[in-house]
Symmetry: D2
C-alpha cells in the first residue's frame, strides 16, 4: 500500500523537486499536484525535464484522500493556506516554508524537521516544519559542538548560496546578465534563518548564549550552499573530528570528510558533508548541501520516510551531478 | 570644441555602454542623459560600475543644443520618439534600434551604419541606422564574398549570442537559474536580422539570390556572438584568405585571423575577427563580435567618429577583458 | 543473483559515472573497480561526491569472476587492453571507446550499442561498442528520417558540447579562465564521429548517400550536447512529428517534444529529447542528451540491461538536475 | 619623450594585462616583451585578443635601454632574475611577485606599491613591490580604520577570488569541469598575503596587534575578488562612512559606495570600491577589486604613473565590462 501524497505549490522550484523525487519513490503515489496558476496543464510543460517521465497534470482541486501533504508555497502563504483549507485529522503535513519553524509561533503539533537534530520526534510527528536551506547547512556544521556544550564564543559564518535559493521569481539579482560571474553580500548579520538556528542550538545546549555572525552571499551558480564557519575552541583537530564523526555516526545523509571539500560533492544529492580543521585556537567547519534537496525537498522526503517508518534513504539515493 | 552628445534611453544596456564609451571619449562632451524612468537619479546608481567616474544624473528634459543624438530605445520606440520630438536641422542622429535599417521604410536620409560596408556614405550621412548585433557579426563573415559575387549557393549560419543581447528586461530565458549551463535555439530560419543582412548582400552583389539559413542560439554567457557559417565555394583556402584580407585591409576594427578563434578574443572590445577555413568544397567562416560594442554602442561611436571626421578608433581603443 | 560487473579505467569521467550508476543499480554488484594509477585508494577520494555512498577501493588486480566488463579507457587503449588481457568466454564486454564502433574494424562479435537503432541485436550481443556522445545526439535526430529513406539532401549540423566531453585531462581549452563565458568551433567538417553516424544511416537506408556537414562547438557548460540540424524535406510539420513519434514510440529514453527544448531538460539523466520544426522546405531537428549519460555511461547501463534481460530503465530513473 | 618599458614574463596572465594596458598608454613605448618560452612569436598568437592591436613579438633578449622594468614572473623567480640579470642604475623596477613585499627581506630600496598607503613614497621610489591581489582588496577595506587606530579587536575576513588569481598553469582546481558552478575554501587562516597586510596595518597603527582571521575561497568566475570583513567597533554608521570617505578623498581609483556593491562593478577596471555597514556593534566592510588590474597589472601602471610624475589615471581609464 503506497503513501498517497499531495503537493501544494507544485509549479515552483521546491515543488518541482518534490515531483522529481516522488515520481521515482517506490513507496509513494502522487495523489494530486496542486497549482493555482497551472490547473489542467501538463506537469512536463512546466517542469520540462519531466517530459517522458510522467503524464500527470496540475490540478486546482484539493483532495483529502491522502496520507501526507507537502506545502511548497511561499513564507506566509503556508499558514494562510492551512487556515483556509482545514486538513482532515490524520493527514500528515510537511511544510517547506518558514511559517511553523519557531516553536513559539507554531505550537506543539509541529516538529522542526531536521533529522540530525530531531530524528526520534520526527518519527511520531503529526506536522513537520522543514528547515531552511541556510539553516540546514549551518546547523550541520554546529550541532555536534552544541550537543557537547562546546560553543562558548561568537561563531563567524560566511555562506554562499546558489540562485535557486531565491526561487523562480524574476528579479534584478536573478537576471543572468547580472548574476553570471558576479558575487555579492546580502542581509548581513540579519538573515531570517538565524532564528531557527539559534532555537536548535539552545535545544542542544541550554547554556548557549553567544552571537552568530552570519554573512550570506549570492553566488553565481544555481544549486548548493557552502558555509565556512569558525569558533574559538580548545579541541585538538583529532578531538574535533571525533566529535563530528560520533555525532553523525548513525545519520545516513550527513558525512564527515577528512579531506577538504568543494560544493559540487553534494550537488543534486540529499547529502550534507562537513569538514573540520584546527588553525591555532580556531576551529574551522566547512559545510555543504544542495539547497533544494537537503536544504528543502530532499529533506522533506527524508522526513516523510521517517514519519512513515520507511528506510530514511528510500527514494533519495540520488546520482550526484558531480560536474 | 567637443562634440555635444545626447543619449535617449540611457538606463538600458546599450545606453549604459554609450555612457561607458563617451565618458572617456576625448572629443565628446555628454550634454544630457535622458531616461523617462530615472530622471534626477545619479547615473552611477543605475550603471553602478560608473561610480567614481561620473557625477552625471539622468534627466527627463531634452535639449536641442547638441551635435549628435544617440537613440538607445527599443524597436518601434525610436521611430515614435522622433515623430513626437522633432529634432532640429543639423543635429545628427544615430539610432540603435531596427526602425530605420531597411532602406524602403527609412527613406533616403538614413544610411545603414556598417562602416565595413558604407564607410564613405557614413562620413556624410545625416542619420545613421546602426546595424543589429547578429546582423553585424554575420555580415562581417559574408561581405567579402558578396563584394566579389562569390555567394552562389545557400549559406548555412549558426550563431550563438550572450544574454545581454536580450536586454535588461526580466524574462524566463534570462533567469540565471534557467540560463546558466544551458543552451537553446530560437527564431530558427526567421530572425528579423535576416532582412538587413540580405539588403547589404544585394547592395554588394545585385545578383545575390540564395537562401540564408540561420539558426540563432541563446548561449550561457553575457557578452558576445560567435557565428559559424559556410557555403559551397570554388576558392582555395589561400584565395579565400586573400579575399578577406583584401576586403578588411583598411578597416581598423575588423581583422582576419589565420588561427582558429574563440569568442573571448573580442569581448569588451569594438573589434570583429573573422577566420576562414576550406573543407572539401565548403568554405567555413567564423566571425566574432561583442554584441554590445561592435554589435551596438561601439559601432555607434565608430559611426559618430566617421561622421565628425575623427579617427575611426577615437575613444574605442578598449582593453579586452580577455578572461 | 546479481550481475557481477568490473570496470576498467574507473578513475576517469565515464568510469566515475559508471560507478555513480552501478552503486544504485538494484541488479548489479560491483566486482572490481580497476585503475592503474589509483590502486588501493578509496573511490571516494577520487570521485569525492561518492563519500558516504561506498567504501570501495580501486584495485590494480583484474578478476575473471564477472558477468560484464565495462571498458572506460581512452580510444586505442581499449583494443590494446583486450589484446593484453584476454577475457574469459562468456563475459560480456561493453566498451565506451571508439575502438570497435566501425563494423569493418570490429568484426562480427561486436554490436554498435545504440538501442534506438539496434535494440534486438543488443539483447543477444556478446560485445557492445558504446556509441560516441556527439554520434548519439545526432543519430537520435536523424534515425527516424533515415528509416523512412527521407534523407535525400545534405544535412547541416551544428552541435555544442560541454567540457566533460573532453575528459579530465588538463588542457588550455579546458582551463576555467579560458573556457568560462567562451565559445569556439573545433574539428569542423571532420569530427571522428561522422563515421559511426554514416554507418548507422546506411544501415537504415542503403541508398543513403548525401553529405553530413557537421560543425562541433565547445560550450561553456560542463554536461550536455545540443545539436541543431536541418535538411530539405517534403514532409509537413505534422508528418514529420508523426515520423519521429512513431519511431521512438517503444523507446523509454528518447522522447519527442512538441515544444521547443533546452539543454538542461536532459542534464544528469539518460534521456534524449528531440524536437522538430518545419521552416519553408527545411526540416529542423533539435536533439539533446547528457554527454556522460545517454552519450556514454548511461547508455552503457542501458545496453547492459538489454543484454541481461532486465527492464531497460533499471537503475536509470535518474533525477534531473534541472537547474 | 615616452617612457620606455620592458616586460619580463610577458606570456602569463599579469604580463598579458601589462601589455593590454601599455599598448594604449599614451606616455609609454614598449621596448621589449620578454618571454623565455615564446621568443620570436607574435604577442597576438599568445594573447589572442591583441590581434590587430599590435605586431610586437616576444623576445628572449634583454635590453638596458629602458626607463622601467616590469617583472611579471612567479614568486621566487623575480628575485632570482634580478640576481642573474643586474639592472642598470636608474632603471626603475616594478615587481609583481611577492619577493620584495616584506620590508625586512626587501631592503630599503623597495617601496610597497599600494598608492592608498604609500603614494608619496612611491613617487620617489627606485623599486616597487606591487601588492598581492587579496592583500590589496583587504587593505582597501582596513586601511582607513588602521589610520585612525580603530582596529582594536580581531578582524574576520572572507574573500573569494576568480580563477585568474591562480595563473594560467593547468591544475585540477582550474579545470573547467571542476570549477564551473563550484566553490571551495583553501589556505584558511594561512594565506601568504596576511604578512603584507599586517605590515601595512602596523605602518599606519604601531599599536595594531589583533588577529586577522582570513578564509580565502575559490569562486567560479574568472576575474575579481570580493572581500567581506567585519570588526567590533564603536563607530556609528555615519562616522564609519566619514572615516572611509575622508581617507579615500584624494585617491582616484578607490571609491566609497553608499549602496551595497557587487563584484562586477569593478571587473576590467583598475578601481576598488568599498562599502561599509553597521550591524549592532559590528562594522562590516565589503571591498571589491579586479585581481588582475587593481590587484596586479593596473596597480603596477598606477605606480609607474606616480613614479614618472604622470596623472595617476593615465592609461587606466578603462571601460568596465559591467556584465
Amino acid at each position: 500500500m503506497k503513501i498517497k501524497a499531495g503537493i501544494i505549490g507544485s509549479a515552483g522550484y521546491t515543488g518541482g523537486e518534490m515531483l522529481r523525487l516522488l515520481i521515482n519513490h517506490p513507496d509513494v503515489e502522487i495523489a494530486f499536484v496542486h497549482s493555482n496558476s497551472n490547473g489542467g496543464n501538463l506537469i512536463s510543460d512546466v517542469h520540462t525535464d519531466l517530459l517522458g517521465d510522467t503524464d500527470l497534470r496540475f490540478t486546482e482541486e484539493l483532495s483529502q484522500d491522502i496520507d501526507v501533504l507537502f506545502l511548497c508555497v511561499g513564507h506566509g502563504t503556508a499558514k494562510k493556506f492551512l487556515e483556509e483549507n482545514p486538513v482532515k485529522e490524520g493527514i500528515k503535513i510537511i511544510d517547506l516554508s518558514q511559517d511553523f519553524r519557531l516553536a513559539g509561533a507554531a505550537g506543539t503539533d509541529w516538529v522542526y524537521g531536521l533529522p540530525e537534530l530531531n530524528r526520534e520526534r520526527i518519527r511520531t510527528a503529526k506536522f513537520i516544519a522543514n528547515p531552511g536551506c541556510f539553516a540546514t547547512c549551518i546547523q550541520l556544521g554546529l550541532l555536534p559542538l552544541a550537543a557537547k556544550g562546546l560553543i562558548k564564543n561568537a561563531v563567524h559564518i560566511n555562506a554562499t548560496t546558489g540562485s535557486t535559493g531565491a526561487g523562480q521569481g524574476l528579479s534584478p539579482t536573478s537576471h543572468f546578465s547580472w548574476r553570471n560571474n558576479n558575487l555579492s553580500v546580502y542581509k548581513a548579520f540579519d538573515h531570517q534563518h538565524l532564528n531557527e538556528i539559534g532555537q536548535s542550538l539552545v535545544q542542544l545546549d541550554a547554556q548557549f548564549d553567544v552571537p552568530l555572525h552570519f554573512i550570506p552571499q549570492r553566488g553565481d551558480f544555481t544549486r548548493g550552499i557552502l558555509a565556512a564557519m569558525y569558533v574559538e575552541s580548545d579541541l585538538t583537530a583529532e578531538e574535533a573530528l571525533k566529535v563530528y564523526e560520533d555525532y553523525y555516526a548513525g545519520h545516513p545523509f550527513t558525512h564527515v570528510s577528512k579531506n577538504n571539500i568543494d560544493l559540487k560533492q553534494v550537488v543534486n544529492t540529499s547529502k550534507g558533508i562537513v569538514h573540520v580543521e584546527k588553525h591555532g585556537d580556531q576551529l574551522l567547519v566547512i559545510s555543504i548541501i544542495d539547497n533544494l534537496l537537503k536544504g528543502a525537498s530532499g529533506q522533506a522526503v527524508q522526513n516523510m520516510n521517517l514519519m512513515f517508518g520507511l528506510d530514511e534513504r528510500q527514494g533519495l539515493r540520488l546520482k550526484a551531478s558531480a560536474f
